[in-house]
C-alpha cells in the first residue's frame, strides 16, 4: 500500500537498497537506507515529528505556540513542515556557514531564520538559541540535542525497519550529529541483535568550525551515550566528498556530503571484515540527498576544488 492520508503519514518505512558495486564481496555487503525518501528529504523528519508529537502530548505545545530550535538545516526544515501543517510558528537559529538552499527551504516552509556566527559552528547556534529561550519563556525549544523523543523516533521506526528488512545485519554506520539516529537505532539493534557493531562517522570540518574561544564552549549532546557505540571514525572533507561522488558514480545514489563520510567509515569496516574473513551486512544511513548542497560546489570541479569550496562550511 503506497497511499497515505497526508504527507506526514508517508514518513518513514524508507527503502533499503543494496550497493553491489561498492560491496567488496558476496560475503561482505553494503546496504543503503534511503532516508532522503522522507517528506522534506532527510532523516530529520522522523525526529521532528516525534518531538512535536511528544510536546503536544505533554501540553508544552498548544495551537499557535512558537517553536525555537538551533539547527544546521535538516532538523529545521523538518520542523518547519510539521509546524506549518499543525499551526505553529517556527524560529530557527542557523549558523551562517550553511548552504543557501537550507535557508531558502526554511523560509519556503514558513520558518523565520536567525543567523548565528560561522566560527564555532553549531555550538554558537545552540548558545544563541538557549539565550533566546531564556529571554522568551513562552517559546518552546524542543532541543534536538537533549530531547529523548529524537532518539525514540529511531528506536520506534528506523531500528525495527532495519531488522525487518535485513535480519542478517552485522553493522550499522551512521553520521554523528545530535547523536539521535545512532542512539535510538543503536539501542534497538543492540537489544534485538546483541552482536551488532554500531559505528559513528563523525564529520571533520575545516578549522573555522572548531574556532571556539575556549574549550569550555565545547558541546556534547545530552543524548549522547558512548556505551551505545562500538567505535567512532572521524572523516575529513576530502574523503567525504570523494565517497559522495563514488556513491553516485558507481551506485547511482545521489546523497549529501555527510553520507560520503558514512560510506568512507563503512568501507573501513568492510575492508577489515574482508581481511579477517568475516561475513558482514553493513547498513549505511543516507541522511539526505545532494540537492541542498548543489550550490556549495560539492559536486563540480575537481575534488580539491570541491574540498576547498566546502572548507569552513557545515557540510553535514
Amino acid at each position: 500500500m503506497a497511499r497515505y492520508d497526508s504527507i506526514l503519514d508517508a514518513l518513514g518505512d524508507t527503502p533499503l537498497v543494496g550497493l553491489p558495486k561498492l560491496s567488496p564481496s558476496a560475503e561482505v555487503r553494503l546496504w543503503a537506507k534511503l532516508e532522503d525518501r522522507n517528506p522534506t528529504g532527510s532523516i530529520k523528519d522522523r525526529a521532528a515529528l516525534s518531538m512535536i508529537t511528544a510536546a503536544e502530548a505533554d501540553g508544552r505545545l498548544v495551537p499557535g505556540s512558537t517553536i525555537l530550535e538551533p539547527t544546521s538545516g535538516n532538523t529545521g526544515i523538518a520542523l518547519a513542515l510539521v509546524s506549518r501543517l499543525r499551526g505553529y510558528r517556527l524560529i530557527c537559529v542557523m549558523p551562517e556557514n550553511t548552504s543557501e538552499e537550507r535557508r531558502q527551504l526554511l523560509e519556503l516552509y514558513g520558518a523565520q531564520v536567525i543567523p548565528s556566527p560561522a566560527a564555532g559552528g553549531s555550538n554558537q547556534a545552540v548558545a544563541v538559541a538557549r539565550r533566546l529561550a531564556a529571554e522568551n519563556p513562552d517559546w518552546v525549544m524542543l532541543d534536538q540535542y537533549s530531547n529523548a523523543a529524537n532518539a525514540a523516533a529511531h528506536t520506534a521506526g528506523t531500528g525495527p525497519e532495519l531488522l525487518r528488512d535485513l535480519p542478517t545485519i552485522t553493522h550499522l554506520v551512521a553520521g554523528l550529529g545530535t547523536t539521535g539516529t545512532l542512539m535510538g537505532t543503536g539501542r534497538y539493534l543492540r537489544e534485538h541483535k546483541p552482536d551488532v557493531t554500531i559505528v559513528a562517522a563523525e564529520p571533520r570540518y575545516g578549522e573555522l568550525v572548531y574556532g571556539l574561544r575556549n574549550l569550555d564552549e565545547g558541546f556534547v549532546p545530552e543524548l549522547y551515550d558512548e556505551k551505545v557505540l562500538s567505535r567512532r571514525i572521524s572523516v575529513g572533507t576530502s574523503d567525504a566528498l570523494r565517497r559522495t561522488r563514488q556513491l553516485v558514480g558507481e551506485e547511482g545514489v545521489f546523497a549529501g556530503p555527510s553520507t560520503g563520510a558514512v560510506v568512507h567509515a563503512a568501507l573501513v569496516v568492510a575492508n577489515e571484515a574482508v581481511r579477517d574473513g568475516r561475513r558482514a551486512d553493513i547498513v549505511i544511513i543516507v541522511a539526505d540527498a545532494g540537492w541542498k548542497y548543489l550550490s556549495t560546489g560539492a559536486y563540480t570541479g575537481t575534488l580539491d576544488e570541491a574540498a576547498e569550496a566546502l572548507d569552513g562550511q557545515l557540510w553535514a
Binding site: 545552540v126 550529529g177 539521535g180 572548531y210 567505535r231 571514525i233
Partner: protein, 91 residues
C-alpha cells in the same frame, strides 16, 4: 617512534602557533608527557586532573576516536597521526 600531532587553533598558544608538531611515545599518555616537555601546559588542556580526557576534547589516532580504543592507554606506532579537536555540535 615519531608521531605527528595536529593541534587545534585553540591550543596553539602552547605550540608557538604551530599547527602540526612531532612527538613520541608508546602510548597516548606517554605522547602527551613528551609533548608537554616542549609545549608547556598542552597536556593539562587535554587531560584532566583525574587523568582522563577533558569532556570537550576529542583525540583521534589515525581517525579513530581513542575513547573506543583504550583512551590514554591507546598504543602508538611509528608514523601514526594524532588529531586533537574540540567537541562541537552537529545536527
Amino acid at each position: 617512534m615519531a608521531v605527528e600531532v595536529r593541534i587545534p587553533t585553540i591550543l596553539r598558544t602552547h605550540t608557538s602557533g604551530e599547527k602540526i608538531v612531532q612527538g613520541s611515545g608508546d602510548t597516548l599518555q606517554a605522547l602527551f608527557t613528551d609533548l608537554d616537555s616542549r609545549h608547556n601546559g598542552l597536556a593539562g588542556r587535554v587531560i584532566t586532573a583525574e587523568g582522563g580526557l577533558h569532556r570537550f576534547v576529542n583525540v583521534y589516532v589515525n581517525d579513530e576516536d581513542v575513547r573506543f580504543t583504550g583512551g590514554l592507554g591507546t598504543t602508538l606506532k611509528d608514523g601514526d597521526s594524532v588529531t586533537i579537536l574540540p567537541a562541537v555540535a552537529g545536527g
